[in-house]
Symmetry: C2
Subunit: 414 residues, 2 copies
């Protein structure tokens, strides 16, 4: 719909990243420029805020602070993990959304998130169309997991990958410092796709990375793992392992689940800990060696001080392009990245169908994963290196990052 006039609304959804607010900055700053856009709203905690008619008035914010969003981690207007019902079974949520959109004359809707959010976005778009309510709906990709389909990569991945690669390099220096055998097992996020664990290969490519890497794309065998560790320990005296939180046995069990089951009979209660910790305990017991388990935990998705400049720029631009697309009449699309060339690195922003983006999980190509936990192929390194280039972080104030400070003024409920 080309000649729409009305309010623009952005919702942030799912797990935070270092650059999700860079996309928000792009949306807000661009939306403020267009005459067709009569108001700029931020949904308080995504879909949940919309259902409750809770919006921030972004026109009341200082431009300077909106610019600072580019380097402020996490979701500035609040995120949500609320799954809408299947509209075929129960369309009450959709009816409510329609009611709210009509009431506030929201005609441009932007939703920034991962797979589930693109699915939500797609369903809303279709429901509005069916209900003959004119609203241009555009999805903006976001995920450290990099598992969104129909785009070369997703904003958030480059910065998280840079965090993982840099941290492995630093840990390499730390973990090899003593003159005694030692095993360090580092757990990286990624429940189904191993993209983020794969980033450890960038440290490896500098000779300062893990010795062994395990992605969830391949079944994980405990005995094989222990033999890999023992072999490396015998050869080098020090072993660094990168392991995805999502690795599973060929029977489909996560590692902590496995130990929970194993221990249940004997002690009648569940074992604590994540994948790295459970494996660390087992390696220590079997190999009589000092072992340390490390989890990057939330740090890998919110360390904006280590954001990739390329990622910040692309996240911001995706927000800008989303607004331009909507204003120009596009709807039911997600802004995706098409890689034109890798060396020099060049991408094209494109509009892809929301449905296509939503329903397929993009996993790491199996041919990029080396056998025996040896890491990633050169193809992966070539793919990922351009995404972690450059620094772009908040200015320092008192030696600490000066993040955006929003006034968060609410739109009065109608």
């Amino acid at each position: 719909m080309k000649d729409l006039k009305g309010v623009a609304l952005l919702g942030q959804s799912g797990g935070p990243t270092s650059v999700i607010n860079a996309s928000a900055a792009g949306v807000f700053l661009e939306a403020l420029k267009h005459e067709q856009i009569t108001g700029v709203y931020g949904a308080v905690h995504g879909i949940k805020g919309i259902l409750n008619e809770e919006f921030y008035d972004m026109t009341k914010e200082d431009e300077e602070e909106l610019k600072r969003l580019k380097n402020t981690p996490s979701s500035a207007i609040g995120s949500v993990r609320h799954k809408l019902k299947d509209p075929k079974k129960d369309d009450s949520d959709y009816q409510r959304l329609l009611e709210v959109f009509k009431k506030y004359n929201i005609r441009f809707f932007f939703y920034n998130g991962g797979n589930d959010s693109m699915d939500t976005c797609s369903k809303i778009s279709k429901f509005f169309k069916k209900s003959e309510y004119d609203c241009n709906v555009i999805g903006i990709p976001k995920t450290i997991d990099n598992d969104l389909n129909a785009t070369d990569h997703s904003p958030g991945y480059g910065s998280a990958a840079k965090y993982v690669a840099t941290s492995f390099m630093e840990l390499y220096h730390d973990a090899t410092v003593y003159d005694r055998p030692m095993v360090t097992i580092v757990e990286v996020m990624g429940r189904n796709a191993g993209w983020l664990t794969a980033a450890a290969a960038l440290a490896q490519s500098k000779g300062q990375g893990p010795d062994l890497m395990y992605l969830p794309e391949l079944p994980f065998d405990l005995d094989v793992f222990f033999s890999h560790v023992q072999k490396t320990l015998d050869a080098k005296g020090k072993v660094i392992v990168a392991i995805s939180e999502g690795v599973k046995t060929k029977e489909g069990k996560y590692i902590p689940e496995l130990y929970q089951d194993l221990n249940k009979d004997a002690f009648g209660h569940a074992q604590l800990g994540g994948t790295a910790q459970v494996l660390a305990q087992e390696v220590a017991a079997r190999m009589n060696v000092k072992v340390r388990a490390i989890e990057f935990s939330l740090l890998q998705r919110c360390s904006a001080h280590l954001a990739s400049k390329v990622d910040v720029k692309e996240a911001y631009t995706a927000g800008v392009r989303a607004v331009r697309a909507a204003v120009n009449g596009a709807s039911d699309k997600m802004i995706g990245f098409e890689r034109i060339s890798t060396d020099p690195y060049k991408i094209k922003y494109k509009r892809v169908s929301l449905r296509k983006a939503a329903n397929i999980e993009q996993k790491v190509p199996l041919e990029w994963i080396l056998p025996d936990g040896k890491g990633m192929s050169e193809d992966y390194v070539r793919y990922a290196l351009p995404l972690i280039q450059g620094d772009d972080k908040a200015a320092l104030e008192d030696g600490l990052p000066r993040f955006a400070q929003l006034k968060k003024i609410r739109i009065p409920k109608k």
Copy 2:
């Protein structure tokens, strides 16, 4: 001893920091300038390397790479946790050191480490003196724990404190993003002194820090802790806790020990996990709320990409001053910092007795710790802020830090 001429030797000791190599850079680059110094050695894994006559020849390194040490984390020439015997009971290690020093004509000895290392340094110095072997021995402070006496602060603390403060700010943004109750418990290093946990107060001073903080200087009471968490949860819906790995009950038990004991009867085996994890499990069970435990682990001591510029400079200068002191005849001293003023921040490098530096653990003043887990006083913030100022990190190569690459050429064994 003023007119000494011979080899200068540096040993690195104890746990790594982001800037221990900055001190090494200071020692090496300064030592290379002095005619009195006939060779510049690096001990391979500290005292252990010396006992084994294992040295790197630092004169063979490129100056450019030695400069890069300033921004390379951990211990470039290898560290050690080897405790020398009490020379009064068994002086064989000291006799061996004396033999090696004589054999290689080592006349200037620098040892970079924490409390234990300064103690080692002091004992070696006294033994050499008693044995009438002329060698000027100078200690260089290093510890993220900031527990060295006779100095305003220690190199390594500022960078670790900057990591802790920045990470708490970023976690604050991440942990408050959802519209549901949540408790995040973050464990910080510091077995006996709470300096590093205290650094979370710098994030707090920006309104983006933990709600509750627990240092090992005060006895930790589980019931009081749970009531603090419950109260904050009721009031705010979200709770962020900073807790030192070293907190103990008034009976002197670490928290994981406590749960180990508690669970022993019921299940007959030890509970896993550190302080944060054990507390997280207990909070989840008692308060029926989502809880996440995070450990900064090794990252807080090796994240050179987040080093403080002030810390890098002071660590480097301490190395330079150590060499100048030794060449000018000083011995049995540690390079300490005396704070001249806080605003503007100004310090003086001084030479303090090694014995004085070694034997007293500098803890956080109790009057700086607010009651009820509320954090730190303004006095602490004033003390610590100058130490985290500015950035100084390795240049990027392919988007990743270009750390020093040493040739590590060995001195032939005599």
